[in-house]
């Protein structure tokens, strides 16, 4: 690690009991009760998530459902609703992105944020973390545990220290004090096997691990030894990668005067499709799913989608799908204030079927 590198401020934000929390937020009768998501109590399957109340009974994710029932017969078993979680996740991540552009989602319910460049506005990384927690609570009714540290490794460990609704800050000067008392298994990459072998070397805490020379770790663990050596010192220079792969591309327009005639709307859809088609082509993408968005004069909004046999970036093809979908709406009978055209389910790698006819 370069000692002259500026100190980074990294946040690891980890939603508390995410799946269960979403259900408990939306159904007050579940609050305070052991809630288990996934697996049917009668059949097989494993638990996908458990509320803290259920965890108190020893139920964890991946506990077989049948065992979960034995551990806690009074638990409420719910079917997972992944589309609902994904939608929620997107909204929470949007809040994260409000604080910094550098957001790296790790899974549906956790992300790393690099807020190093945002300290002027917020004063400190801790203040950013507090503001994020506040907004997630106010806007989404959920709690998030945040670790604040100079790198991803420490932020990740820190977010787990004070769950739920935790905030753990590791200032650069306190790295060793923070790590040393932890058990080695608290380090990422230390599973039961590594833990047992370290134990045989007389190493149980991170502080003890830090005392082991590099060559001995390398002899014992190969390349993984060097990682253990760095992790024991709280060193990790992996950047937070913003790797926001484009998931969709769209164009929409609100009209100063509501559109009433289908012919007018068809023309507008032609223009919007042209924009989407050009955008897709520019990025070397093709969309397999096309979505029409219509907002009526009373602001009610609907979307209609169609999935094609082959991906397209062809404006003519997009427009003809849009015009068909428009006829599956009440447009024409109701005035329209906004039209939108979107492509999703994008195919990368530039494989795209070229069109025989120029767009009409």
């Amino acid at each position: 690690m370069n000692p002259d590198a500026p100190v980074r401020r990294i946040l690891h934000c980890d939603m508390d009991c995410f799946y269960a929390a979403v259900h408990m937020r939306d159904d007050p009768s579940l609050r305070g009760r052991p809630v288990v998501i996934g697996g049917s109590p009668a059949g097989r399957g494993v638990v996908a998530a458990a509320s803290y109340e259920a965890r108190a009974f020893g139920i964890r994710s991946a506990t077989p459902a049948a065992r979960a029932v034995r551990l806690c017969p009074q638990a409420v078993f719910l079917k997972p609703e992944f589309p609902r979680y994904r939608l929620e996740s997107r909204q929470v991540f949007e809040i994260f992105r409000h604080f910094t552009d550098i957001v790296q989602p790790v899974s549906i319910d956790e992300a790393y944020l690099d807020v190093s460049s945002r300290l002027d506005r917020w004063g400190s990384a801790t203040a950013v973390a507090q503001a994020i927690k506040q907004r997630v609570r106010d806007e989404r009714g959920l709690t998030v545990s945040v670790g604040v540290a100079p790198n991803r490794l420490l932020a990740k460990i820190a977010s787990d220290r004070d769950k739920p609704d935790g905030l753990t800050v590791v200032p650069p000067s306190r790295v060793h004090a923070f790590l040393d008392p932890l058990a080695v298994r608290d380090l990422p990459g230390v599973g039961p096997a590594t833990e047992r072998r370290l134990e045989r070397m007389g190493v149980e805490t991170v502080g003890e691990l830090r005392a082991v020379p590099l060559d001995r770790l390398e002899r014992g663990f190969g390349r993984h030894g060097a990682t253990l050596y760095r992790y024991a010192r709280g060193q990790d220079d992996r950047p937070v990668r913003v790797h926001r792969e484009r998931k969709s591309l769209s164009a929409e327009r609100t009209y100063s005067q509501d559109l009433t005639a289908l012919t007018e709307m068809d023309e507008e859809l032609g223009r919007l499709s042209e924009r989407v088609g050009r955008g897709l082509a520019k990025h070397g993408l093709g969309a397999r799913t096309l979505t029409l968005k219509v907002r009526y004069e009373d602001f009610t909004t609907l979307t209609r989608s169609r999935t094609l046999v082959a991906p397209t970036a062809d404006a003519g093809e997009i427009a003809s799908v849009m015009r068909l979908l428009l006829r599956h709406s009440e447009a024409g009978r109701r005035a329209v204030r906004l039209l939108g055209v979107g492509g999703s389910n994008l195919v990368r790698g530039g494989i795209a079927q070229l069109a025989l006819f120029a767009p009409d």
Binding site: A310, E317, V321, R323, V347, I351, L354, A355
Partner: protein
């Protein structure tokens, strides 16, 4: 109404009705067949409102009447029973008694009055097309008809009479197939768009008689023997297809049709389902077909070919190439190419058709 008829003959006429009947319909009567008594015959009809089929069977008829019966169930029954003869009897309101061998069925039907009135196509005199040839021509273009509902004007083939010739063209916007054959006495006329479903059902007809073709303002009629298929003309403007048939492709590769088809099919095993593309590389030494997929791996195969011109490489949908290669009926084919962004043109070598070609737009890989 009581009707006695030969089971085998009846089955012959019942079977093609199944293709017309809508399987998933919100209008119950469209999953039904109309049975209607006539003079010494039983009339049959099926429709999905766009395409209709009528036919008849010779029968001994007592009284008059009609009923609509659930098409699939009715066929299953007539297939399952034994005996050479079937007797149908309209009993009480909308119930039909079926007797064959020692079996007795009484099935519930719908009133014949609920069955849609089928359009009639009369007026102009019919044009007699040689059916066997017509069927062969349909087989050479139908794969290129679009099944994307949104491109409704491409959901059928253009059938066009020319001076002493008949032409059929189909395209889905990515590839196009065109076939033309001699048809003596024909006079140039506007083309008409025949929906895909009508073509598919016509392809199932058997026989080598003449297919009487008529058109009215909105409908077409195709009559072969006792069967008449009526369909609504597909509305819309068919694209200017001659414009996209590349004329100056200067690179020409000659292949054995079967060898190329098999190689493409094998290599295509390693293409994904989302965007299927194989790479076709042509050089003086020969051709290579290859595929690479980040999830699956790579495949390649050399294929013998005669090639003139500068080498080139292009991506192509293996299904599009495969469809052409299985429709073409000559031992050898010629691919005319220009570059990786220009449509390839596939042609038979020593074919019987006046003109047959398939234009395929490449894929960007």
């Amino acid at each position: 109404m009581k009707i006695r008829l030969k089971r085998s003959e009846f089955l012959n006429e019942l079977a093609p009705m199944q293709g017309i009947v809508e399987r998933r319909t919100t209008i119950p009567v469209l999953s039904h067949l109309l049975l209607q008594s006539g003079d010494d015959r039983l009339g049959l009809a099926a429709t999905d409102l766009d395409v209709s089929l009528t036919s008849w069977c010779q029968a001994e008829v007592e009284g008059t009447g009609g009923i609509a019966v659930q098409a699939r169930k009715f066929l299953e029954i007539i297939r399952a029973v034994v005996g050479e003869e079937v007797v149908l009897e309209l009993t009480e309101e909308n119930r039909l008694k079926i007797s064959a061998g020692s079996s007795r069925f009484t099935i519930n039907g719908l009133s014949a009055d609920d069955f849609p009135t089928l359009p009639e196509v009369d007026g102009e005199s019919a044009i007699a097309l040689p059916f066997a040839q017509f069927k062969r021509m349909v087989g050479k273009v139908i794969f290129a008809v679009s099944t994307e509902e949104s491109r409704f004007q491409l959901n059928g083939a253009l059938v066009k009479l020319k001076q002493d010739g008949l032409e059929m063209v189909a395209t889905d916007g990515h590839r196009l197939a065109l076939v033309e054959n001699g048809f003596e006495g024909a006079v140039e006329a506007d083309g008409v768009l025949v929906p895909r479903k009508a073509l598919l059902e016509l392809q199932r007809f058997e026989g080598d008689g003449s297919l009487d073709f008529r058109r009215s303002e909105h409908h077409l009629s195709f009559k072969l023997g006792r069967r008449e298929l009526i369909c609504r003309i597909l509305e819309g403007t068919f694209p200017d297809y001659e414009r996209v048939i590349a004329k100056d492709n200067d690179k020409v590769a000659t292949f054995d049709s079967r060898l190329l088809a098999e190689a493409v099919q094998r290599v295509a095993l390693l293409t994904g389902d989302r965007a299927r593309a194989v790479r076709l590389e042509l050089a003086a030494e020969g051709a290579k077909v290859s595929a690479a997929n980040p999830d699956l791996g790579e495949a390649s195969e050399e294929v013998a070919c005669e090639f003139e011109g500068e080498g080139l490489s292009l991506g192509i949908n293996p299904d599009y190439l495969g469809h052409f290669l299985s429709a073409v009926d000559t031992e050898k084919v010629r691919l005319e190419l220009k570059d990786e962004n220009t449509q390839a043109v596939g042609l038979p070598i020593d074919g019987d058709d006046v003109r047959y070609l398939c234009v395929i737009m490449p894929m960007r890989v």
